[in-house]
Symmetry: C2
Subunit: 211 residues, 2 copies
């Protein structure tokens, strides 16, 4: 249960399990799912599922499986998703726009979706003030103030590669703790910030190998 004791590979699979459980949740209380079925719907082996769940302290019943509602709550708790998580987006171009709308829409339509978009930033003066589903675009200069005012600690970076390191440096100063980086560049960050990267082109190039 200690932070350091759960390997990142395991943490990475928890949201996948959670996603499966969420699609099952209508008919849930008292209901049960086996590691076989959960694994099948997650693309993970049954043994792996049981190992992962054991590691995070989620246990089932022999002969039956895991109680869906209990498991769902447990996974949410481990992932910090039992409280609302505020997110800011820096860079509101094509991709930033799409990401913003995606998060806002899921928050609006799914009870129990705990990611809330609270701020948008861009450097283009033309864009400042524009509302995306009610959330205004602020100038990047006000990032530090807004971060403190609104209290978000998670940020999505969707600016061009050239601007990304400067943005990351700003994040570090503002005390941001987690960054999802869509800019196609490896960012330097203090160790206290957790950075994950995702890059469409890299994914496509990776796939190209298998053609």
């Amino acid at each position: 249960m200690e932070k350091e004791s759960i390997p990142d590979v395991v943490i990475r699979r928890l949201p996948i399990y959670l996603r499966v459980l969420e699609t099952l949740s209508e008919d849930s209380y008292g209901n049960v799912i086996s590691s076989f079925k959960l694994g099948e719907k997650s693309g993970v082996s049954p043994a792996q599922v049981r190992k992962d769940l054991g590691i995070v302290g989620a246990f089932g019943k022999q002969g039956l499986g895991y109680d869906i509602a209990i498991l769902r709550n447990k996974l949410k708790h481990v992932l910090n998703l039992d409280k609302e998580i505020k997110v800011g987006i820096i860079g509101v171009g094509n991709l930033g726009h799409a990401i913003a709308r995606y998060i806002i829409q899921r928050y609006a339509t799914e009870r129990d979706y705990h990611l809330k978009l609270v701020a948008l930033f861009d450097s283009n003066p033309e864009a400042i003030g524009e509302l995306i589903n009610g959330v205004p675009i602020d100038h990047i200069h006000s990032f530090h103030d807004k971060a403190l005012e609104l209290g978000f600690r998670m940020v999505v970076i969707a600016v061009p590669a050239e601007a990304a390191q400067a943005v990351m440096d700003e994040c570090a100063i503002a005390g941001i703790e987690a960054v999802l980086n869509f800019a196609p560049i490896h960012l330097k960050a203090p160790k206290v910030i957790r950075v994950h990267n995702t890059d469409l082109s890299i994914d496509l190039m990776h796939l190209a190998y298998y053609l």
Copy 2:
């Protein structure tokens, strides 16, 4: 050099190395980069870089490092990126739109960007016929015909979760070989199709653990 002999973890890092080399390429021929510098700019250890490059058959010179132009070409060749790769997108909502524009824009502005968007598909009759930077949106019903006609073997799925498995089944029938899936669901596919998944919500939930 045999397909089966290069582990996927290694393949996954090659586009990252390539991305770094690309930013260096202006002043390249005859120029050289060490595993230390390449590793630093990639977020990978120097030992790892040397191991990876050795595995794919890219070699440097002791005391100097790797010739940038030669290494770039080698990596492109290994990744199949020395030929043009045609890509289709299924699902042209927010995300599909953004992905389409991103690929088209990079293809238009970067010499040496070998991913070419050749087709877009959606099921919404309102969208059919619309052009995105010159590429028309076709009805999903014509997917099979268009895939054969245009000859693309790589597809991005950006439809809602409910529609994704049916789309994947269509891909299998049409002989698609590589799929990048943005739908938040684990898709079943024949083993001959390589499927990679990317899901914004899962990335954010993963990060939430570290808050």
